[in-house]
């Protein structure tokens, strides 16, 4: 099999691409898509650690399954917020949603 660190490198690269998207994109939906990429990188790390360190126990698989649940909830609420902001401000640029700014 491929050594563990190669998997970790791929998921680190995926995470950093997601970080770039979150920091640089001006579009709220694109920012959320980049957050999904970062969540996927974390998920891949969890599964890789399960397979290489403790593959006979079920704990790692269960942990990854709960990450799926949280990711689904995050996507639903995040997109609802984006649509609500768009409806109120006719813009989904995160920098323009600054009502709470002091």
């Amino acid at each position: 099999m491929v050594p563990l660190w190669v998997f970790l490198m791929v998921s680190a690269a995926l995470f950093c691409i997601g970080v770039f998207g979150v920091l640089a994109r001006r579009n709220g939906v694109a920012v959320l898509m980049s957050v999904e990429l970062m969540l996927n990188a974390a998920l891949m790390n969890i599964v890789a650690f399960w397979r290489y360190n403790n593959p006979t126990e079920v704990n790692g698989l269960a942990f990854a399954a709960f990450v799926f649940v949280v990711a689904a909830a995050e996507a639903a609420v995040g997109l609802a917020i984006i649509i609500s902001v768009y409806r109120n401000r006719h813009s989904i640029i995160p920098e323009e949603a600054d009502t709470l700014k002091g």
Binding site: L4, L14, I17, L23, A30, E36, N53, F68, A72
Partner: protein, 176 residues
């Protein structure tokens, strides 16, 4: 690293994953961005198959590609001004350099000293007796293992769905 089928499959799925991710963050038309997101998530599903987590790969395809990516497609269509948005990025080079420095820090500060230098961690501790999907299903409903987190996860999903409906509902409809 010997050159065999698993290595080739790993390289192909890694390229699909990272190429799709770069498509997501650079595509100016967000509808294409969601298609790239599906490509990237499919690559991650392939990597999960290589890690012997077949059930999670199937869930990845069903939940991420089948539900979340479709949800993103709907969000793109409901907020239509974005496909004509000409400004993709803010402070692009600063952010490219920051993300690159973060990757270098991950690689040299964490992955290299802990997992590359220690050859004992390179390969799985065992290839026999892997936990199967049956074990996962039993563990999720067994009283001594994960039944409480399982119920809490169900509650979390219900609360999130109700919250999403409440947040996204049109304020003008509230009188009806």
């Amino acid at each position: 690293m010997e050159f065999n089928f698993i290595t080739v499959a790993f390289i192909v799925f890694s390229l699909i994953t990272l190429g799709g991710a770069i498509g997501v963050v650079t595509c100016i038309n967000l509808f294409r961005g969601t298609i790239w997101l599906m490509v990237s998530l499919f690559g991650v599903a392939g990597l999960m198959v290589l890690l012997s987590a077949e059930f999670l790969a199937a869930v990845q395809v069903l939940v991420y590609i089948g539900a979340i990516a479709i949800l993103f497609t709907f969000a793109v269509m409901l907020t239509r001004s974005i496909t004509s948005d000409k400004m993709r990025f803010t402070r692009v080079w600063v952010n490219v350099i920051s993300a690159g420095i973060l990757f270098v820090l991950f690689a040299l500060g964490v992955i290299y000293p802990v997992w590359v230098a220690n050859a004992a961690t390179h390969f799985p501790v065992t290839d026999a007796g892997l936990a199967t999907t049956t074990d996962l299903g039993v563990a999720l409903v067994s009283g001594s293992q994960f039944v409480l987190p399982f119920e809490v996860a169900g509650l979390l999903l219900t609360a999130a769905m109700i919250g999403a409906i409440v947040i996204a509902r049109d304020a003008d409809d509230e009188g009806n």
